[in-house]
Symmetry: none
Subunit: 222 residues, 4 copies
DNA sequence: GATGAATGAGGTTTCATTCAT
DNA sequence: TATGAATGAAACCTCATTCAT
């Protein structure tokens, strides 16, 4: 283990992000009620575009159209399309960081480990599916080394991962609990991303969940 | 289980791809030695761009420049940038399909299951790291539902996945062997993609490999 | 000489300008105390922008921000950015027309022509340097044929030029006194504009002033 | 005098300019015959625009239209409109640097100083009028501190200015010959720029030339 | 009086793509 | 075979300007 090089994500995403996430308009002023509503419509439209056309083809002009405004208005609230995505990702992180932690930590692992594992897997897959558009961006941008997105991703998953690590640490498997936790989350994330492919290949949902729950339980609960 | 809707990937990538992959030039003729060399330079340049700028920013103009030619020449050999990527992906699939199968199947699972699992994990991570640029595209495009890339990805991993499934089937874990195999591959792939992130988070390579090997062994060899 | 086509600038800038210079707000009403203060802040901000970014990049949005207001407020007082510049230029003209005349006329040319010439040159350079931002606009717009700015420029310099002409007329140099006066002012203006360049080229301030004073004295005082 | 801080313009415009002036296209390659012709058409169109609409309103789209091409083509040859202007200015400098020097140095100053002065003034005014559009940019940009343009301007006028300095140095006026030369050139330049204004004010061409020639002669030839 | 908010309009810039050589 | 050259098309982005509050 090398805890010493661990980055401090316990306190939330980095300070640098703050500047990119604040709600001020292009002229530096804080928008009023109406402005914030427009901003929100633009964010909704961005999410919508992300689901329909993907990150690669995200265009300011399309977001604006979908929001019922003009590109000029978009630029009042965000410097570019990526900034809006970043806000969405931050909002997702904010909203789900603790929920995901609770998804793992709030289970009866000692009384019903199989049930706990099952619930975690189902909960995780549901979460991932519900938000796959943004999570895809988070994944992709992280892979490409974008610090802002990677920090958000780390923070989003951090609570759950640490809860899994703590669980894994309670029994001696002979493996690094941290590594185990990381791997489990990776497994869940990747399966969630590629579920359609797996199903097409002939693996149905229940079998998938059962097998993952089994692996999860074995890994963290012995 | 629904083996009945399983798509026939055993025989290699779909026929539709063939048209996109052939080596004929824009005028329908088969290029000669010199033409093929140019085509290859363009492919190499495409791979290079994929590594440096990523899929999202892949541009014909940059590929051509990197290959020391002009865009016009590029269009002699490929209809667009994606087509070149497709060729690269197909070549990777072609070259590694059996290697990956052998990576799994060619191990002494009964004699030294721990060693076998370890070798599979290491081999897989190495493979993925060496080709991460193209594999990233394969992943991304698969996630976005592109059939051509998804078929290639399936075919690339098919040998290994089936070998894992067969292994898993030899002992009764109570779980669907196919699901198990799919999950194991997913785990390997995702960890490979996010290795830098995991290491930054404080998990070093050896611990990661050990934990994955443990999970792999438990999943497919009991 | 063609005094007959001479335009009558003796009485101040043209009537046409009046409309552009009045202090009424966009709605035609005369602003009150608070409104005039805002207007003045906008003028100050315009001058500030002129000094920092120049005429070419003057933008209503920047003026408003620098004044601590919004563009909408700017349009309450001026139809566009140029109008504010015009007001600044007119104010400069108003304030300096007589001062510049006195700078020339109020000297002891018969008793101490060398001293008088020296004082005129120094005074002129100082004036020009202090107001170079607006004078640059006056120059540029005049060169581009804008009547409003050219009339202001003419009126600004008129008193001084005529005083020089009168001086030149008192002795017979054989040259047109008016031409002489115009040339002298041109020399002063251009040197003032390009002082940094001349100094970089290796001519220091004192040498410059001395030489100009010499030429000025010879031209107008024989 | 402070020759020690004199910048070395004897060898032509700075090296940095070279990069901005070379004829390579946007892709870094050297255009062929046809490409260079197009480039030249764009330069001509730029000069034309400069004369009709001025520097402040120079637009790539207008240049392209005037050249009978599209903006995209413009960007093949220049990074922006200013770059084209810079090329024009450099070409003017290149073409006239020696001519202007000869205009001063190639006169019979000892035999017919009045005639020499007259010819210099007339030649200078003609030159300036013929190229006023670009010279205006050179002046303006120099005043705004743009090194590239200022270096070009210095180099353009350098030959003539030094010739004037040498002349001034041959008789003891008591003034710095360099300052005198700089002032004379300033006078010529400014009068040339504002000739229409002076004529409107009632000074006709001949009187202007005569008076300037007189001043010039007195300043440099005693 | 002041200004939040919205946007039409228009120039900038980049690229994929074509075609004649 | 290769490519110089040109450009349509489309997105980006910025501002001047307006209007309702």
């Amino acid at each position: 283990m090398s805890d010493d090089i661990e980055i401090p994500v316990e306190s939330g995403p980095s300070q640098e992000l703050a500047a990119e996430l604040d709600e001020r308009a292009a002229d530096g002023r804080m928008p009023g009620r109406r402005g914030l509503a427009t901003r929100q419509r633009l964010l909704d439209a961005t999410a919508e575009q992300l689901e329909t056309v993907g990150y690669r083809d995200l265009k300011v002009i399309d977001i604006a159209r979908a929001a019922g405004t003009s590109p000029a208005t978009f630029y009042q609230y965000f410097p570019d399309a990526e900034a809006a995505v970043l806000v969405l990702a931050a909002a997702l992180t904010e909203a789900w960081h603790e929920e995901l932690e609770a998804l793992v930590a709030g289970r009866d692992w000692s009384g019903d480990p199989a049930g706990a594992a099952h619930e975690v897997v189902e909960g995780f897959l549901t979460f991932w599916t519900d938000h796959r558009a943004i999570l895809k961006v988070l994944d992709l941008a992280s892979m490409e080394g974008d610090f802002r997105f990677r920090d958000l991703r780390t923070w989003l998953l951090n609570g759950a991962t640490e809860a899994l690590r703590d669980l894994a640490a309670t029994h001696d498997s002979g493996y690094d609990p941290k590594a185990t936790a990381g791997i489990v989350v990776a497994m869940l994330a990747h399966v969630a991303n590629h579920r359609p492919g797996l199903e097409r290949w002939g693996v149905d949902h229940d079998a998938l969940v059962a097998a993952m729950a089994g692996m999860l339980r074995h890994a963290v609960a012995g």
